[in-house]
Each structure stands twice: as structure tokens, then as C-alpha cells.
Symmetry: C2
Subunit: 354 residues, 2 copies
């Protein structure tokens, strides 16, 4: 349990960042996200570069003003998104060349430009541009990804590339190869970043493998700097990752699952954080027939706007009838579940019960 100082306030760790890919946590406005007491949100350089374009956000006075969000924002560099473009991108030493998934326009994103854009966006935490290898990948492929990631990280260190008070994080790569992961971590730590992310995980590797990697990578990272596990994960994965020293998380699961009617429900008011327990919650498909006449809230232990005001039967009806409100009410609940889990984790840490 620690804290992270940003240009928009101090955030208690460990924390979870809801994803606002295109400057909106899907279906929610900034007031909704504030009411959920989200500490920090994540937005994507890649998506904002394509739409609306960085110029518009700069002229708006930065991303905070553009979306009217007063608290910290972390911007991902776009490495992961560009890697996901598969055939539509080429990685060269100078940077990544890719075509927009929207209109096919060609872009070249050099590590310097990725930082410059995040400076223009005015995010609190900027990520260096990395090369995210796929899973599975050969050792030589992973090695090349680490080489470029380190090279690009070095080129990202210039103070000119960051806004005043903006934090810049490096990203550890190396796939499932221990030597490469350790090398990547040591090379980045050498450069003294404000924080360290572990990237290239939750891309299809077994869960056990991911924890194994955390077990040997986290000890390489300086304790005073925050450790961010990118793109993770299921609630029980977050608990296990916190146990291994992770301070920051982001994941599409709560928001994406909500839009598919998959809702998280706590099993008990309090969570037992003993190792290996994942029975503290279940996920229910609200569209199921059995909720037709269920006039209880989604989760009787939940204090979110949705659970305080609406029933499972109403939610099920909204989903069945294709009412857009379904998506927002479900998103509010799932994001609340994740943020509440983090609050419980922090309380348990404070109480020495973690």
C-alpha cells in the first residue's frame, strides 16, 4: 500500500484504471466515472491519434479538458494496439509504420513522437513506445522485441518529450523467456523511469506462466517506483498480482463484459484474501430467463447507482429489448465491482490482512 503523486493528485495504490480508449469510458460520462470514485483512467494514444486527432485535443487544452475529467489519466503509447494490427504494421528501428484500422491512412509512430503526442494530450502518466511480441513467439523474435524496446526507451528519455510533472513509465518485454525478461527489466531500471510496466502478458499465455513471470520480474524493479501490469485482468488475477507486488492495473473486462450482460456479483460482503481463493465472486448472465421475475438488485452487497435503483428483472428487460440504457447501468455496476475490489484490497493491506 503506497501512493503515486501525479499532476492531478495523489492516488493510493494498488489501483485499477477503467479504460477510456477514445476519451470516454464506454457508455459513461465523466460524472459517472467520478461518482464511481475511479482514481485514474486509461486512454489510448493510438486511438486518439486516429480520432479525433491530437491537434483537436491540444487545442481543447488537453485530454482532461476535452473529456472534462479532473483526475489522473494514463495514456498508453499505442505499442499494444499497433502490435494487434498484425499484417497492417511494420516495425523498423526508427519506429512503427502502420495503417489506421478506420480508413487505412498510413502513420509512422516513432518512440519520440509517441511521447510528444502524450505530452500534447497532457496525460499524467505517459508510456514509452514498446514492441509487444505476440504469444507464442520464438526466442529470437522476443529478443528482437526486447532490443527495440530498450532502444526506443532510451530515445524516450529526453526531458523535452514530457510535460512538466508528467510521469514516464518504461515497459518490460521478453515474452515467456526469463533471461529476456530479466534483461529487459534491468536495462529499463538502468534508465531510471518513474514507473515500470510489465507488458506482453494476458495475450494468451497460461495464467500460471504469467504469475511465474511476475515472480521473477517484480524483484528486479525498484520498490519506490510503481509496478503496472498491463491489460490484467480477472478479479482473482488482480488479487494474485497485488500479492506479487503489482500496484496498477487496467483491463477491458469489466466494461466489455458489462456490454455483453455479464455482471460481477460478490459472494460475501468481505473478501478472504488468502492465497489461491477466487470464490469471492461469480459472474452472472443477466439475460438469462431466470432473472425475468427477479426483483432484487444485481448484487445485494453492492452500493453502486445501478444496484441502489434498479432490479435484475429491469436490467434483463433492458438487455432483451435492446435498450441502450442496459449497457450503461451494467457498466456502472461492473466498474464499481472492480474499484470496490481495489478499495477492499487497500483496506486489507492497511489492516495487515493481505
Amino acid at each position: 500500500m503506497g501512493e503515486l503523486k501525479t499532476a492531478h493528485g495523489v492516488v493510493a495504490t494498488p489501483f485499477f484504471m477503467p479504460i477510456a480508449t477514445q476519451a470516454s469510458v464506454k457508455t459513461l460520462d465523466s460524472r459517472d466515472v467520478e461518482e464511481l470514485r475511479a482514481e485514474t483512467i486509461l486512454s489510448n494514444t493510438y486511438h486518439l491519434l486516429l480520432r479525433p486527432g491530437v491537434g483537436i485535443i491540444r487545442r481543447a487544452g488537453g485530454l482532461h479538458k476535452f473529456m472534462n475529467w479532473p483526475r489522473p489519466i494514463l495514456t498508453d503509447s499505442g505499442g499494444f494496439q499497433i502490435f494487434s494490427l498484425a499484417k497492417q504494421r511494420k516495425i523498423k528501428e526508427e519506429g512503427a509504420i502502420f495503417r489506421s484500422h478506420i480508413d487505412g491512412r498510413q502513420f509512422t509512430l516513432a518512440p519520440e513522437l509517441a511521447l510528444q503526442i502524450q505530452k500534447d494530450l497532457g496525460s499524467d502518466i505517459a508510456m514509452v513506445l514498446d514492441v509487444c511480441a505476440p504469444y507464442p513467439c520464438s526466442e529470437s523474435e522476443a529478443k528482437e522485441a526486447v532490443r527495440l524496446t530498450t532502444l526506443w526507451a532510451e530515445r524516450s528519455k529526453s526531458p523535452k518529450l514530457r510535460k512538466k510533472k508528467q510521469l514516464v513509465f518504461g515497459i518490460v518485454q521478453g515474452s515467456v523467456y526469463k533471461d529476456l525478461r530479466l534483461q529487459s527489466a534491468r536495462e529499463l531500471v538502468e534508465m531510471d523511469f518513474d514507473g515500470y510496466a510489465i507488458g506482453g502478458l494476458a495475450v494468451g499465455e497460461p495464467r500460471k506462466k504469467m504469475f511465474e513471470i511476475l515472480d521473477y520480474v517484480v524483484p528486479e524493479l525498484p520498490e519506490r517506483a510503481p509496478h503496472y501490469l498491463m491489460g490484467v485482468g480477472q478479479p482473482e488475477e488482480i488479487v494474485e498480482a497485488v500479492r506479487r507486488g503489482i500496484d496498477m492495473f487496467d483491463c477491458v473486462l469489466p466494461t466489455r463484459n458489462a456490454r455483453h450482460g455479464l455482471l460481477y456479483v460478490s459472494r460475501k460482503k468481505t473478501v478472504d484474501f488468502s492465497p489461491g481463493r477466487s470464490d469471492f465472486y461469480e459472474a452472472l448472465h443477466i439475460t438469462n430467463e431466470r432473472f425475468k421475475n427477479d426483483f432484487s438488485p444485481i448484487d445485494k452487497n453492492c452500493s453502486c447507482h445501478t444496484c441502489r435503483n434498479y432490479t435484475r428483472a429491469y436490467l434483463r428487460h433492458l438487455f432483451s429489448a435492446g435498450e441502450p440504457l442496459a449497457l450503461r447501468l451494467a457498466t456502472i455496476h461492473n466498474v464499481h465491482f472492480y474499484l470496490e475490489l481495489m478499495r477492499k484490497i487497500r483496506a486489507a493491506i492497511r489492516a495487515g490482512k493481505f
Copy 2:
């Protein structure tokens, strides 16, 4: 300027009802609608009968509880929706036989059942089942519609068919035929309903024709009872209809237009309600290129949640990027515009300036 007493409070007239067809004002939750200070909302018997089914809403404790809405609800009888089904419905003396637009299931809706359902829904204002003739239609077709509408209205008068304190309104039909309209109005007034709706308008007839019909129908209706013009309309049509003695309105325009990015903007802080003026507002297509870098609110005279917190550039981005939030923020603004127009009309009436 008057008022209407309902089981869920007194409503000042004239007022506009946002449409919650399927127990949700599209994209808004009940708190949003409360914050907009909507006095009354409209929901549809036809749609609720099909989905989620009346049994579920009855078991929920009525429509107010089901959707967590504390103020008055008017339920339409389904006549208009069934008429819109065209080939998929048959009108007989006993009632309307139709197939669900969702799954083709066959339903028979008799006037008694339409009221019984609205009793189960627990709405504050129930509408009798009417026969809504298309436009254009022959005089003999319109005559038959009036005959059945009167017959069905008589069968709707039984006190058993209404909930305690529930108001029941008759619906004047007769298409564009003056004699038929007058006959329909007189026959309904004879039956002494709690209010009178004028139906079968805004279905394609010229606007001039609609006002002509109001000019001779409204004087037939008792002054002490509210007059409701169904499905109308554009802001300037509402103003002109109030001038002709209409107290209640509903229309899909503000909500539907919002979802298409068409937003209402006031031209001035105050509205000149002199006859024939429709220059008090304009409608802008927020997706237009020219709003890309427009960091002003949609309407600088507007106090809605959207205008207080977000810019045209942000709204345009959300629409362009396909973000679901766009629909809600636009809906909030447009519904606010309509409700604010009604507040201005009421204030003008109170001040003797209408």
C-alpha cells in the same frame, strides 16, 4: 396555464412527455429524467405487452417501481402502434388482432383488455384503445374508424377497468373530415372522460391542416379537462398548438433526433411567442466538420448537464468515433430543450405574454 392532478402528483400544464416506449427514455435512466425535471413520461402498452410482458411489471409492483420513476406516467393504449403494423393487423368490432413485430406471436387486444393492462401497469393516465386511420384515407374509412373508436370508448368506461385515481382519456379520431372529427369529439365528451386526446394527427397531413383541425376540435372539448395532442411535434408546432388550447404533448423527435446527432439550439435566451414565429431555435448536425474545433457548449444559453460539462467538439468526436455516450449526452440536451420550452411557455402564460 392549469394543472393536472394525478396519483403521482400535480403537473402544471401545458407539458411535454418524453417517450419511454419500453420503460426507458432511450439512453437515459430514471435519475437523468428526474434531473431534467420531466413532469410526466409516456410509455407504450403495445411494447410493454410484448416485452417484458405485463405479468412481470405487475409482479414488480407496477411500471413506476419497475423503472424506478416516481412521477406520473401516461400509457398509450397501443392503437397507434397497432395501426402502424399495416398488413400484420386486423381490426374487428371486438378488438384489434395483430402479430408481434418481434416474434410474430398473435395477440388480440380488445378495448377492455387495453384498459385492464394499463390498470396492471399502474399508469397515472390510461388511454382508451382507438382506431387510428392512416393518412390519407377515404371518408368511409375514417367514418368506420370513428364508429369503432366511439364503440370501444363506451366499452372502456367501466370503473372496474381502472386503478384507483387512474385517469382515463378518450381519443378523438376522424382524419381530416370536419364532420367526423366533430362527431367523434361530441360522442366522447358525452361519455365524460378525464381528458381528451386528439389522435391520428402528425401522420403525414400538411401542418396547416393539423392546425385547422385543432381550430374546430378543441372548442368541442370541455375546458376543465386536459387536451392532449398525440405525437406532436416540432417546437414551433407545440407553441402553435398551445395557442389553440392544447395542454399535453408527446413526441419522439427530441430523443430520436438526438440519436442522429441533430441538436436543438435556442437563438435567444427568451422566446418571442408572437403568432407564426419559429425563429427561436435552430437544429444543428453535430457531426458536421465545422464543429471539430468548436470548444463551446452545444447551446450557450442552455443549462443542461451536457452543455454545462461538454463541448461541441467533444460531442462531435463521440458521434464520429461511435461512442455510445454520444447518444445519452445528445438526448439529455434535446429533452432539456423541449422541457425548457414548456417552462418558458408556462412562464409566458403566467405573465400574460402568450
